[in-house]
């Protein structure tokens, strides 16, 4: 049950990353297309690093 809760909580990282990307880039640029494209790129990088770090931590804690 607790592992299921952990997985469900982990999914919250996606909308959170999307919001952080949009707000961060909106505070840096004014042009709508620039905000959207920069946010999409930042969101991709955030997810990539989260998956990478999550995978490494999962690997290190395997069978513990």
């Amino acid at each position: 049950m607790s592992s299921l809760t952990s997985i469900a909580i982990t999914w919250w990282a996606l909308p959170l990353a999307a919001v952080v990307s949009l707000v961060w880039n909106a505070s840096r640029y004014e042009q709508t297309s620039c905000i959207v494209s920069r946010s999409a790129r930042m969101f991709g990088w955030l997810v990539f690093w989260m998956v990478l770090i999550g995978g490494v931590l999962y690997g290190l804690s395997y069978n513990l």
Binding site: V20, A26, E30
Partner: protein
């Protein structure tokens, strides 16, 4: 200087963005950003607050808490970027800590409210019986020989469908008016039943529970009930508060980089509207 970015009344707009995410940008006519900030930051905060059962903000002074006051101040500082709920929680804390906020001995006038709770009764033949009841409770001030108190009556139905119509003893106890719980506890003895009692709650007005701080016990109970979701809820509200600082800064100074990623970095490429009212002469006109 990039004339495509127009910041109308920057300080006033920053104040508006502090109060409601994106409101300053809407005032400046930057509608895309206004909507983006409003839905992203506002939505993030409301989601966190909802997950924390609307008990996400604990405002100073932390006289209602015994431990962890320094940490509470840090949490509040992160949420303070989102002005309206943070200031609202400050005001609610003042009301909560007022001396008058205690369980009332009497009430100024009679009132009725929807009630939910249990009616319990003990007697030698049937033993202890307990039934869930719902209906309307009427409370009224009572002038007893030894002082004022609260009396009342209850009309409703039990979970087995039986109609309940009882009078309450004049020692009805009612929870304090301002408390973080949306429901106000009521306890009363039933007249005519030696060991009968009515325990339950009536709704509290939203302005008497929303943003009201929790004491240590209520906070621990909430954390125990929500577990990890409570941590997530708090993180969402902190991030929302911190992100709104970016939105406030954007209303005040414009975008941190420029109009787009082709612009010169760090250039102060905005036009403040009041300053632009004076006609700007081109270099050719000057010469």
């Amino acid at each position: 200087m990039d004339s495509r970015i127009k910041l109308r009344h920057p300080w006033f707009s920053a104040l508006l963005s502090f109060l409601v995410p994106g409101l300053g940008q809407a005032y400046q006519g930057r509608l895309f950003k206004a909507l983006l900030y409003f839905f992203c930051i506002g939505g993030l905060f409301l989601t966190g607050a909802r997950l924390a059962e609307w008990n996400a903000i604990q405002a100073p002074p932390f006289e209602y808490r015994d431990k962890g006051r320094g940490l509470l101040l840090l949490k509040y500082a992160a949420q303070f970027g989102l002005g309206t709920p943070a200031i609202g929680a400050l005001l609610q804390t003042r009301r909560y800590l007022e001396r008058s906020n205690e369980a009332p001995i009497t009430i100024p006038a009679a009132f009725s409210a929807p009630f939910q709770g249990t009616l319990s009764h003990s007697d030698p033949t049937n033993g202890h019986t307990e039934r869930h009841v719902s209906g309307t409770i009427t409370l009224e001030p009572f002038e007893a020989p030894f002082g004022e108190s609260i009396a009342g009556s209850f009309h409703g139905t039990a979970n087995d469908g039986q109609q309940i119509d009882i009078k309450l003893d004049h020692h009805v106890s009612v929870d304090r008016p301002i408390d973080p719980s949306p429901r106000r506890n009521v306890h009363a003895k039933v007249i005519g039943q030696d060991s009968g009692s009515l325990d339950g709650s009536i709704p509290r007005r939203w302005q008497d529970w929303l943003g009201v701080p929790m004491d240590d016990r209520a906070d621990q109970a909430l954390q125990g009930r929500l577990g990890k979701w409570h941590e997530l809820a708090m993180v969402l509200t902190w991030i929302a508060g911190l992100l709104n600082i970016l939105a406030i800064w954007d209303a005040l100074e414009g975008p941190a980089w420029g109009y787009n990623d082709q612009s010169e970095p760090g250039s102060s490429n905005v036009v403040v509207v009041p300053a632009a009212r004076t006609p700007v002469r081109s270099p050719a006109a000057v010469t």
